[in-house]
Structures are given as C-alpha cells and as structure tokens.
Symmetry: D2
Subunit: 499 residues, 4 copies
Amino acid sequence: MSDKPSDYCGIFGIYNHPEAAAMTYYGLHALQHRGQESAGIVSSVFDEERGHYVMPMHKDFGLVLNVFEDKKIFTDKLRGLKAIGHNRYSTSGSSSNPANIQPFRVHYRNGNLALAHNGNLTNAPSLRQRFINEGILFQSTSDTELILHLISHSLKTGQFEQIMDALRQIEGAYCLVIQTDDALIAVRDPNGFRPLALGRLGDAFVVASETCAFDIIGAEYVRDIAPGEVLVIDDEAIETAKPASYMLPRKPGTDTAGCVFEYVYFSRPDSRIFGENVDKVRRQIGKHLAREHRIPDIIRSESDKKPIVISVPDSSNTAALGYAGESRKLGYDCKFEIGLIRNHYVGRTFIAPGQESRQFKVRTKFNPVRGVIEDRIVLIVDDSIVRGTTSRMLIDMIRKCNPKEIHFLVSSPPIIEPCFYGMDFPSPDELIANKFDRDVSRIARELGVDSLHYLSPQGLIEAVKEANEGKLNYCSACFTGKYPVPVEAQMGKEANELV
Amino acid sequence: MSDKPSDYCGIFGIYNHPEAAAMTYYGLHALQHRGQESAGIVSSVFDEERGHYVMPMHKDFGLVLNVFEDKKIFTDKLRGLKAIGHNRYSTSGSSSNPANIQPFRVHYRNGNLALAHNGNLTNAPSLRQRFINEGILFQSTSDTELILHLISHSLKTGQFEQIMDALRQIEGAYCLVIQTDDALIAVRDPNGFRPLALGRLGDAFVVASETCAFDIIGAEYVRDIAPGEVLVIDDEAIETAKPASYMLPRKPGTDTAGCVFEYVYFSRPDSRIFGENVDKVRRQIGKHLAREHRIPDIIRSESDKKPIVISVPDSSNTAALGYAGESRKLGYDCKFEIGLIRNHYVGRTFIAPGQESRQFKVRTKFNPVRGVIEDRIVLIVDDSIVRGTTSRMLIDMIRKCNPKEIHFLVSSPPIIEPCFYGMDFPSPDELIANKFDRDVSRIARELGVDSLHYLSPQGLIEAVKEANEGKLNYCSACFTGKYPVPVEAQMGKEANELV
Amino acid sequence: MSDKPSDYCGIFGIYNHPEAAAMTYYGLHALQHRGQESAGIVSSVFDEERGHYVMPMHKDFGLVLNVFEDKKIFTDKLRGLKAIGHNRYSTSGSSSNPANIQPFRVHYRNGNLALAHNGNLTNAPSLRQRFINEGILFQSTSDTELILHLISHSLKTGQFEQIMDALRQIEGAYCLVIQTDDALIAVRDPNGFRPLALGRLGDAFVVASETCAFDIIGAEYVRDIAPGEVLVIDDEAIETAKPASYMLPRKPGTDTAGCVFEYVYFSRPDSRIFGENVDKVRRQIGKHLAREHRIPDIIRSESDKKPIVISVPDSSNTAALGYAGESRKLGYDCKFEIGLIRNHYVGRTFIAPGQESRQFKVRTKFNPVRGVIEDRIVLIVDDSIVRGTTSRMLIDMIRKCNPKEIHFLVSSPPIIEPCFYGMDFPSPDELIANKFDRDVSRIARELGVDSLHYLSPQGLIEAVKEANEGKLNYCSACFTGKYPVPVEAQMGKEANELV
Amino acid sequence: MSDKPSDYCGIFGIYNHPEAAAMTYYGLHALQHRGQESAGIVSSVFDEERGHYVMPMHKDFGLVLNVFEDKKIFTDKLRGLKAIGHNRYSTSGSSSNPANIQPFRVHYRNGNLALAHNGNLTNAPSLRQRFINEGILFQSTSDTELILHLISHSLKTGQFEQIMDALRQIEGAYCLVIQTDDALIAVRDPNGFRPLALGRLGDAFVVASETCAFDIIGAEYVRDIAPGEVLVIDDEAIETAKPASYMLPRKPGTDTAGCVFEYVYFSRPDSRIFGENVDKVRRQIGKHLAREHRIPDIIRSESDKKPIVISVPDSSNTAALGYAGESRKLGYDCKFEIGLIRNHYVGRTFIAPGQESRQFKVRTKFNPVRGVIEDRIVLIVDDSIVRGTTSRMLIDMIRKCNPKEIHFLVSSPPIIEPCFYGMDFPSPDELIANKFDRDVSRIARELGVDSLHYLSPQGLIEAVKEANEGKLNYCSACFTGKYPVPVEAQMGKEANELV
C-alpha cells in the first residue's frame, strides 16, 4: 500500500524484568509502524519511603525514539520490574489533545491502575452518554478513559473483579494491557479482531501486539492470547510458569473475526500473528494473485525481454516474490526485480513551501531504478490501494523510465467500506475503488496503468486460511461490507470536544 | 521578607474585550509575584463552523512571559471576547504534575466550563473522600478539580444553579473566576481571606486578585468583590453596567478575615486590596514600628554620623520609609538610604555545582553598597523573617562593609504557626521564631545583628486598621495561632500521589 | 534613564581558581547589565592525554543564566584553573551573527589564545582594510577579530611580544582580557575610557569591568588597572602576589578620558569604578542637581503638603536621594518617596500583537503608586533622557494619578552627540535634546511635564571630580561634542555584511 | 555492508531556479546517505536595499530534515535564484566543531564566495603549514577552509582567476561547488575519484554528487562533470544552454581513479555515477560473485529444499539478485528470498542504558524472517565487511532461526588498507580481514558461518568495467594497497585542535 492508512496502535507489557521499562521501549520501537503519533510507558515500582507501589509515567507526542530520547528516564524515573507501553495513532479521539496520549494511569479507591488500549469500542457512544448523564468529567476523548471509569465505578469488591465487570460491558475490537500493583493483565476482545501474543524472556512474561516486539528483546513466542481471553500475569504465574486465564463471552451470533488487513498490510512481515508468520501468509496471497491473474492474460505486446515483477517496498515485497515464484511455477517466465528504492529518512514535516504537491511527497519517498524498468514489461505488485493518489504519482515516475507496459496487481480486493474496528480509512467516497462506477478499467486509466488487477475477496480469504490452516475466521468488512459485530449508530460522529 | 515564602496564585478574568486573552496575559504578568510555577489562559469564542462556543486553552510550567512566548497564540488560538487566567504556585497538590496547572477546563452535560482558583479549601479532605468512595477518577491533586466535580455532579438544573450548589459545599479561603459560554463569574469566600477586585476597561469588565493587574491594561478600579459575593458578569451586566450579585452565607460564628500578610508582604505596593493602597498600609506599619522601637532605645554607641535606615528591597521599601519618616517626626535624626542593590536577572536554576550554599544564592540576589554602610549605625527594615537563613547571609554581607552597628527591625510579628488558608510557610519547627526558646535576643545573635525588633501583633492590626479605616477584620493566625475558620483534621496530609 | 541605551559589554577573567569557569559565570551574571545579547566563557585546562593545554568554550545568544542553564557545562566541559568571560551587546558588528559572540578563541603557530574585548577601536576601518587587501578572511564583523589577526600576523617572536605588538597598533576605547596557555593578560586602553579592576580571591587573581563582579564571588578589590596598563597574571604573579605590569603609550596630545556616562547611568551603583563608588558619585551628582535647580525656583503653586522627590528606579535612586537630602540641607522642605514600582519579570519578546505601543511597554515595566503621587507636587529625578519616548509615557502614567505638578530633573546634561567609544546611542536626530530647536521648555511640553531641568556639563564634571577627588579626566563628548581621541572617518559605516 | 563505514559528504548546487534553496533541500535529502552529521545551504540573492548580492546561510548539526525543520527558512531567509548545499560526515576535521559545518561562506576583497566540498586534499598538511607560518588564523579544521584562503590570498586579478589559481594548488580526491555573485562553479578533481553530475531542471542547471538528487526534483541528467573539469554556470551558460568548461591538469604519472567503493556500497542503487547506473553495476558484481563462488562448491549437506539467497538490505539487494539469477543461469537451483527485515526508525541515540551491546543495536536494525530461513541452506550476500562485529551479530540472529547452513558471500574483496581519498575506514588493525593471519576460514569461524567467500579484486574490477564499458579507471586501494595518487606523510595525523 503506497497510500498508507493511519495506523492504529501497538501495545506492550512486561512482568518481572529488572529492566522492564527499557524492554518496553525496545518493544514499542519494533511496533512503531502501528502508531507514530505518540508513545508512552508506565512502570510500577515499590516506593520504600512511602511504603506502597507507585507508577512512574513518561509519554509524549512523537516517535518512540524521540519521546525517550533522554535515556536517564529509564534509570531515574521508569524504575521497577513491570511496565506497559503504547504507540498511538488516533482513530477516535482528537489527536492533538495531549490528554489522549496513552497509557492512562489513575489512582482510585482500590489502588493504582495503568492501561494501554488498541482498537475501537463499538458501544462507546452509549457508555459515554451514560457517564455524561451522571455528571462524570472526561479528561480525554479516548475510548480508553471509558474503561477506567467503568472499573472505578464498579460496585464489585476487589480490583480484578472490577476489571472483569468493566470488560463485560465493553464491545468491539480491542486489546488491552492493564497494570495493577500486583499483576499485568492482558485482554483480547471476544472476536479476536486484533492480534496479541504472549512471550517469555528469562523469568519474565511479555505481551505484545506483534511478535516482532519479542524478537528485538530476544524473547520467545509462547502463544497467542485467545479471543476473549483475560490473562493474569502475577507472581504466582511466574512461579508456576503459567498465567491464570479467564474467558469473556462472545456476543451471541458472532464468530471470531481476525482483521485480514493485518495480514494484507498492517503487521510487519517478520511478525507472527493470529498463529502464523505474516511473511508466509503474504507469500500465499501472492501465489493466489498469480493464479487469478496469469501473466499471459495480462501482458499485451511481444518482447524479447522477460516481464519483470516489482514490488512497492517494503510492505509488498513478499507478495511480489510469491507472485513471481508462482507465475514461474505456472510456466510463465518472469523475473523478480527491485525497481523502486525507498528513502527512509522522511519525516512528517518534510515538504517545503511551494512543493506541497503529492508528486513531491512521492518523490521524496520512492525513486524508480531506470536501468531495471526501461524497455521492460513491468508488473507492479502493491498490497492495497486506498485513495489512489500516491499510486498514480508512483506510476508517473515509473512511466518516465520508459517501460514497455505497466500492469498494477493488488494483493487484496478493492477497499469500499469503512472500518469500525480500528482501521483509519478515509470516508467511502474518497476511496478510489468507489469512484468511476467501480469500473476497474476506468480506475486503471485514472492510475495511468495499462491494466489493474485486484485479488478477489474469496482468493484473499482462501490464501489466508491455507497459510494459516483455518485457525480463525476473519473480518473482511472493508472489502465486503459484512460487519461481523454490530456497530452503534453514533459511531464515527465527532465528540463535542474542546480546542 | 528576604526569605520568600511560596506564593499562592493570582487570578484574572475579563468579559467583552476584543483582545481578551492578550489583556489576561498582561494582567497575569502584573500578578506574576503571586505565583511563578505555571501560567495559563482559557478564552471563549463562538465557533461558527460547529455552531457553539469553544474554550481554547494554553497553559504550561513557567513564567507568564515564557509560557506565552509565542505571540501567535493570541491571534491563532486564544480568540474570543472573554478569557480567564491563572498564575500558580502550589500550596496543595503536587507542583510537578502538569495536570495541576490551571485554569481547568471541562465540557460536561450542561456545557463548557473553565475555572481558575486561588486559595485552600479547608474541607477538601472530606469532599475528596466522598468522591473517591463513589469511584470518581481524579486527574489532579488540586482542590480546584473538586469544585468541578461538585458542579458536574450537582442535581440542580441549569449551570448557574449547579455552580451555586457547588459553592455552598466548599469552605475555606478562596477566590474563583469561572467562565461559562455566557458569563464570567467571580467569587470570593464568605470570610474574604484573599483579595479580589472588579474593574472596568472601556466596555469590558475585569476581575483580578490585585489592582496592579488593572493598571497594566489601563483599566479602572470599580470596587472590591465583597466577602461571600458571587458576581455574574454577562451581556446583561454589560448593558446595565451592573453585574448581578449573589451572596454566600458566612459560616456561623465566623467573621471577615482578610489575610494581614497580604498587606505585610505578599501584595504589590502599588495595588489596592481590601479597599486600601498597600503602600499606604505599609507606611503606616512602618510608622507603628518606629513608635514601638525608638531609635534611641536601639542604638548603642555614639556616632557623629546619623544612623541610617535601609530596607531589604523591594518589598520593605515603604515600611522603611515610614520608619525613617516617623522617627524623624519623633525627633530622632536618621537618614533613609539605599544600602542594598537587588539583582533582577536571577532565575530558578541559577546556582552552579559546588556553589549550592545559601551564601551564593544571597550574593546573586543582593549586593550591599559599601559607601553607604561603612562606619554607620545601620537600622535594616525587613517585612518578615521565615526560616532566617537568607537574613543571616544578608547580615553577613552587610557586616563585611564594616558598619558600626546593625539592628534588624521586622515590620510584622514573629511567624510561629502554619497557615491553612493558602500561605505556604514551612513547618513550624523550621520557623526561626520558634527556635532558641523563642528568645528574641538569642535569635538576634543567631542572625548576627546587634539587636532584633519585631512589630507587635496589636501594633500590626492597629496600623492596618488605621490605614484601612476598619473596613474589614483580619486573620493573623500565623502570628497568633487564632484560626478564624475551622480546619479539617487531615489538612496538610500528603495526597497518595503517583510519581 | 528610562530610555535605556544599548549596553556595551562586560568582561571578566580569573587565574588560578579550582572553579574558574563557575566563578566567571557568577562574575558575568553580576555584569549582566552591561550586555544582554550573548554570553560566553573560555577556560583553559591541561589535557593529559594530548600533553598540551586546550581551551574549552561555551557561548551563545541569551542571558548568562540561559546560556549556562545546563550546569554540567562546568563540570564536564569548562574545566581548568583559569577562564575568561564576556557579556555582549553589540555596538559594532552585526548582532545576529553568532560568529560575533565573544570570547574569541584561536590556535595559531604560537599556541592557544582566547580574548574578550569591550569597547570600540577607533582605527578599526583602516586596520580592517589593510587585512582585506592582503586577502585575509574574516569570520566576524567584530573589532575583536582584528586584534587576533594582528597578534597572529605579528613578526615578533614569542606570544607576549606579539600581543604587545598588536596592542601598539590599536586605538580607541577598549578593555581586554587575554588568556594564553600560561597567563591571563588584562589591558586597559591608554585613555582609560572603560573601567577595569583587579581583585583577589584566595590564591586567585580576578579582573572585571566592575567590582560588583568581585562582590558576588567574595573577591576583594585590589586596584584599578591603570589607563594604558598591560597586566600579566601568571604563575610568577601568583607566587609573588604581584602581576607584572607594562605600559602602552598614550596618543600624543590626548589625556585620560574616563567615560562619565559610566557614573551617570551605566555602571551598577554598588560597583567601584575609576577608583570611586558609583553610588557616592551619583549622590554627589544629585546634590549638584539640587544646587543648580532649587525647589522654590521650580514649583509653581502653593500646597500644604511637602513636594515629593521620586526616582525612576533603580538607576536614578541615589541621585534622587542626593537631590532630596541636599534640598533639605538648603532649607527646602521635601520628601523622598517611592512613587514608581518597577516590575522585574520583563523579557525581550514580551509584547503581544496589537499592543506594540510604547505605552504598553512602559506599563509592563513601571507602575506609579497612586497614594504617593495624588495631589502632590512631584519632582521626578531620572539619570538621562535619550529619545524621550519612554519618559513621555511614564509622565502620562504619573499624570493619571492626579499630582498637582510634575517637574522632571535630569541628573546629566542633554545628550546631543554620538559616542564613538562604545556607547550605543541612536543617531543624533533621534535624540530628543536635538529636537524642538533644543528649546528645553518645548521639550518639557513634549514630555508633558510642568518643567524640565538638566544638570549642566560643568556641574556634572564638578560633581564627579568632587566625589572622585580628581583622579582622572573624563570624556563627556556625548554632552559636549568634544572628542578626546580622534576617530577615523569611516567609523559608524556599516560593514559589508552577509545575512 | 552491515558494518557501515562513515559517509563522506554529498554536495549540490543549482543556478537560476525561483526556488533554488528548496530544490537544494530536496537534493540534499536524496543525498542524505552520504553524510548524516550536518547539513547546510547557502543561497544568493540580490539585496535591493544594499544594492549588492548577499548570501543567506542556514546550517547545523543533524539530518537535512531536522536542520531545515522550520520551513519559513526557505521563504524568509534562503531567497534567491541560486544555492549550494552540503551534507557532511567528517573524515578530516573534528566533527563536533560547528565551525566545520559546510558550506563555508566568506566575503573578501573580490566579493562574496560560498563553497561546498567533498573529499580529502592529499596535500592539505603542507598547505596548512604554509598558512600557519604566515600567521593566518583558521576557524575550522576542515580542508575546505584551505581552499578559501588560497582563493583569498591569490595575487591574480578577478575572482575566477583566483579560483583557478587555488585549484591548481590542491591535490587529492575532491568535488566542489562554488557560488559567487555571478556564477555556480562545479569542479571535479583531475583523477575523478568522486562522482559529480550535471543536470537540467527547466531553465535551471543543477549539479550533484549523485543523480538521485536530480530525480527527487524532477531534473534531467545531462552528463558527468569530467575528471579535472571546472564548469562555469552563469547567465551566459543559461542563455547558450552550455556552461563554459575549463580543465585542470592531471598530476603526471597518474590516471583516472574512480572510487570503486562507490559502486560496491556507497552510492544509492538508483543513482547513475561514473556514467553508469549503480544498480546495473551491482548486479554485474553479483553475477561475477556467482561465477567465482558456485553454489555446489559451497553447500555441504543434501536438502530437498532449494538453497536460498538472501541479502543484507538495502545496499546488497541487487548483488544478491544478480547472484541468484546468475547461479540459476549456471544451472544451480536456488531462490532469492527476503530473509531480513530492516527497521527504519533507528536514530543515533537509540540505545537505552544497560543495553549498550552491539547485539541490541543489530536487533533494533534487522530482524530475520524465521519462516523463510528455518531449515534452509542460506546464502547471505553482503556488499562488504569492515570490522565484522555487526556481521557476527547478524549471523547469530539468523542462526537462531535454525537454518541448515549459513554461507556468507561478500560482493567485494577483503578491505585491508586505509583510504586517503575520503572513505572513513577504521585503522587497518581493526579491519577483520587483517585479523586471524588473513585466513578466510578462520574469519568464517569468527563470524559463525559455515563458509565465507569474497569476490576477488580482479573480479570486482572486471565486473565494474563490463557494466561500465571501460569509461574510467578505478581506485581499489582499500583492497590492494595500490594508491593511484601520492599522499603526504602527515595525512591522517590529528590536527592540533581546540575543544
């Protein structure tokens, strides 16, 4: 996907490690692709002087490495054997309000609590209205604050029971890591929309949105947190090497619904999510793409040079390799090539005045390799198209290198519907797949390619299930409009927020 | 007072001015001496696009001029015809928690609300406990947040009735400016501990802790807000030129209790508080000091040069002038001189490693003028002594200029008790007046002066009442231990706060 | 002087102190009034690893306390037993060019050299042209760089001889501290325009523009550096307790020429310069003012209240005290009062958009005390008037407090000519004294006062000489146009400078 | 190369473009890989008020996008139709001295001059000594300043003649862009060590170290600047569309000597340098590597799965593709795979305390894809090995994914000698190729691989010449010790520099 959608958060937790906060920092760094707007860590340390636990916190807008630039934070402030962390890109809540930066930390009558949350609550509007009617004051526009109020207002006795009470009231797509004075609690929603995995690092347990966060600290993957599972990691779990597990009921009439877009684009290729390596799934997707769209059916002219398959780096690399390999296996000669170089120094506020055009933005990110492209039939594989503006610019650049033909292969179906479970797509009428009467050949013309080919929804789900051996059902609502879990009417309406 | 106590906040509000936020900025600047830790402004502007009012806010740690260094804040963000502002030095609440910076702003079911508060609620512990028991989450450790929760949880109908409901539940020493979408509400506690004045600037009304904030913007002083008064400044008030006024009942058995320390040290000499110019009151205090401690009774040796009266600049200047003038009137020859130069560039983090001694801190702030002091009998007038450490260093410096004698005259009585109404004195055992068995001659020896003379409590109150024509009764609990309003037992206990 | 002229630099040096850089920091802080644009320190430390001395440096735009905000600079970087420092406000050279920030530090064929300079070289244009013709590249537009090139290009053998060679070629008003690997060299120009004093702190020698820099670190004043003296402080000087002294010849036909404006306004009242306390000289000036302008000749109406004498704080305080005391001695009853409060938190970028008027600037700096001024005949004493704009605003503010009369007394003559020796006055046609045909009564009207009275040039010089016992002759060219040392024609022409 | 050597600078210049500085900014961004320590731009604009040209400058430590974060710099400051820019990583000169940041800008008797320089002058020691003896003061330790002094001291008449005079005196490996009031002058050293290309953007001419800087702004590549060419781009060049060209003589006995390491590692694959696409040359190098090291000779065990070829991204991608393709052509079955994911958010100060190990640094940069590597025979292709530490860590990580075998193929010969022409290799005894008696099998053991295979020096040069059709001779001194241009003895000795 060259038209990158907004990310939607990465979470991390660790229990029983002497450098808990530093490990969280590395974990968040590995999860940086899941949210670049803000980052935060809350650790938990026993304060000898006060005789109770405290939860030091550091969070701010910016990339992980900027927010934690001053390394003294780890030795002077974020001490303790447990910590949780969060990377954020807002999907609900105003992104410019610092009060929305996670994790959230509170002290209430039953003690300390810190919480990091990823996803969207589909019943947030009614929960929020209920609290507003009671005169509760909100400090943020984040769904996460709702969970804290639910816990704090619970009439149950005991912190864990209050947490369970709150969890039973929320609906939607979410993963949570909750830190109390005694435990690290990891929660995955009953439909399992978002990935969450359990790992082990020496005597410590870790949880993270993706396993790439385990690799960076040398932790081992243990297993996924199951849909609906509430996993309690405390001293007993350390002793027995087995965290206690509780289950939240699934909403009747709904099934598991792993977000297929995590495999298509969002997760890192070196992660294992929903029980399978992302790279392997993407390769399988590429193979299906090759079977659905065969090279001889695509290319138009004769050439003495083999057609080349190039990817939009880095997210489409594996699908492109899968496409090229499978095509060769099917007997169609072609070569995988690196036809686009990606420049990695780009930041947010890069563009100078007068150059606000997308053309410039694309050029600062990608550069085509003329020697590879010139005079060739080019099959470019991308994981998805959202607005299509970046794709068009990219095609323009490739076209200037004088290829014979350009064909655009997309390793996912057309995105036509909004996501209410955490993906931040633009409104449906901004999606290119909804324009030009959804006529693919007209969209191809608009993009400037000789032909455009999407993977079919069935092909996508088949590919994923083949690679993943049917461990889960998937949500592909953004491609099909079939929403596996109902959504409250006001969802998506802007909160009445102060500026 | 060379041992400066912590300040305790300045508040400001303005209604119906095209540059409301900029005026607030200047007002806060004039009130900078009342709090140097943080500063903030919330304005109120109608958002045409959204069809309702919004309350833009800017606040941060630092001096007013640092927090509002970027002047674009006024044109780009803090727009609108009304605004409130706050300077803070914490007396309750952790000073390092940014959530404690005022003003506070919320949106609740009855609309927008912003609030700036100065003082201490004496029933805060029980109010807080009540909310904690209900599961309410606090974002700050500030008393001010309590008032917001009281308003938001009120069962009354209508915003103003909810505010009155909340005000009836709080006790202690406070002034408030509250901004709603329709009004600016100014409140002074029923005992009138802290000053709050009403002013006029063209078509606008202004309220401020001290009138020096009116002078800087060219506003005219109208009158003091009365003890217990709730003044509502809205469009009707602008039309009729008369804000509506409501009264809060005074706690039975209590009387008005203006903080006499405002006159002694805290307020600016160019302000008018409690109905009288501070400068005039201080001069009267200086005169009483001259009558209680007559020069011939103080000096020990003969000299052909007149004794000189010097002040610790700038807060003691007027009292010293009053002392010298009255002494001459009583027939004791003496000269007022400027014997100490104050350096005004000092900031908080001034001292270099290895020079942490108080001696250095004093030297960077004051320098004696040798030519004035040498060979003279020196009568130094200071407004108060708290810990005494700075005074001792100052005396050391003066001593090095070889005066014949040094006598220390304090224009207030010994501070021996804590203040529960907003003054941030150190704990009683750190007060020098409580050391050495409260023996003044031993304290004089400790300070290194030839004699030490405090104004008597009666003398102080008489002086204030003479100058102020008996308009108010005063609280002098820090000198006498007689607290005019009862204080809850837990007051002063540290909140269980996160770090 | 309420219309503050630009300052022109303070210099400091210390030899043989274990915390040389920290002492320099405090010294510069005490000299902050001499230059607020930039600050810098160069220390000198033996680098064991490299086997030779190095000169660590830290300098930047800003006040001393801002530039050295990070106190680790002193322990980690500016180590060593000697250091020199500089505060700067540019009079020549572009102030916005960081290359102009002093001290300057170089390594040339004869070793390390660092230099801090205050004043103006009157033969800079020809020196600069000579180097330009030779193809020498300049990094700054500062006169100081010229001195470095002169030293480096000298054909003499030995660093000290090269320095002397350079000094013999420069003319004008200057003080220098030069740091080499072995010595600290302090130089004062042969006419002695600017002050420079020698002090002692334990085993260390210190030099500084004003003695207030000695007081802050507890150093003792030893003596002034003589006009034309080159003082060499090295290990031998430490052992013998006597620095070696060399003399530069004075330009034939010229005499000593201490800048009288240092006494009038520029130096701190607690400093001793040109051999006498500034405070004492200012008091003498005030007395002369009282003799030249007697109260009965000034006031117009009858009043049952004594006329009051107020100062523009803080620079005019002593002159006002002198005026009031002498007037009383002459039999004219009057009272010294504090009628203006000065606000000390003002920074450079204070004014908000829309309030750019001078009126606002003045209000943020001064506030009159109504109770003191109302209904009184006010004699306001200020040290000088430059453009007059601030004075006019100040008078406006005082007028609003309803005094009976306002009379303006200036403790120096009208400033009518430019200074080529370091004072940064505006161009002559901007000086108020040159407007209105130099008619004092018309200027009074412009300022809004009932009368205006300047001290005569003779009166000023007499007062200074009386206080200072004729130790020096003085330059009063800004009042008289008589320049004691010739100035090159191109002086004042802007350098062809890059932006 | 996973052990990245220090970069050595990128330069850029543009003449006759309305947004010259913004174009330079983008160009520098594309050249960011050539130097990450500092960045700077000097533009040239006619100052109507002053009646002459001025050269506004902005430069600082940091990446291009950080240094130019405030985009107002382009509209408010760096105006004008021409500009030059520089990215720097120091090879000579202290990197921490801000005075070393380029471009350099001076005003001397013949006008303004700005200069950006990349490379090393091999006769810098004697040139510097000559100036030192004359008493010239240096502000930086950079070779570039020498060129400025040579120009400024030239006895020739006219700026261009002075520049030519200076160029005739310098020796070594360098490219220069020089900006005068009238022209942009691009210079490449007579041996042509470093690349420099001419491009065209509408009516403007551009020059840049690599053509990727042309692509980002949409400029067209015209031709390389020839070895020894001095190209003058002025208004006449714009009119005639042909810049004037002058030639510098080559040192007798020397030949052209393009740095072969530019092709191996340093330049971007999408650039065209020395007349050929880098990508194409690297592919040819990969093919030669395949011919020299045939898969059957490398692998040890039988496997039913094809061996996989993976690269160390991104610099080795093309060589790995070339290796895999050629191997298949030679009849050895294998697959190109993406086995390592590179994380692109890593900054300089990334590592937290306690994790200083290289292991952590490598993990934060690379993550192996377990699904790709597990159970496979892995042939990893990297462009070069310097110290070998990073390679060893990388191998460790790959080893943990349980491959059957790991073989390390290096697409260049062992680096055994220092570079005096601008490449910043560590000292020879730190190079892994010089350890273990240069025994490749022992080095393989040290790295933890089953075998290690370097491309031969002949193979490298052949590959380059085949791809590049013999347009140039190459320097491969770092592999062979044969230095094509003599180097002065003191080269590499540290300058006597101030800290």
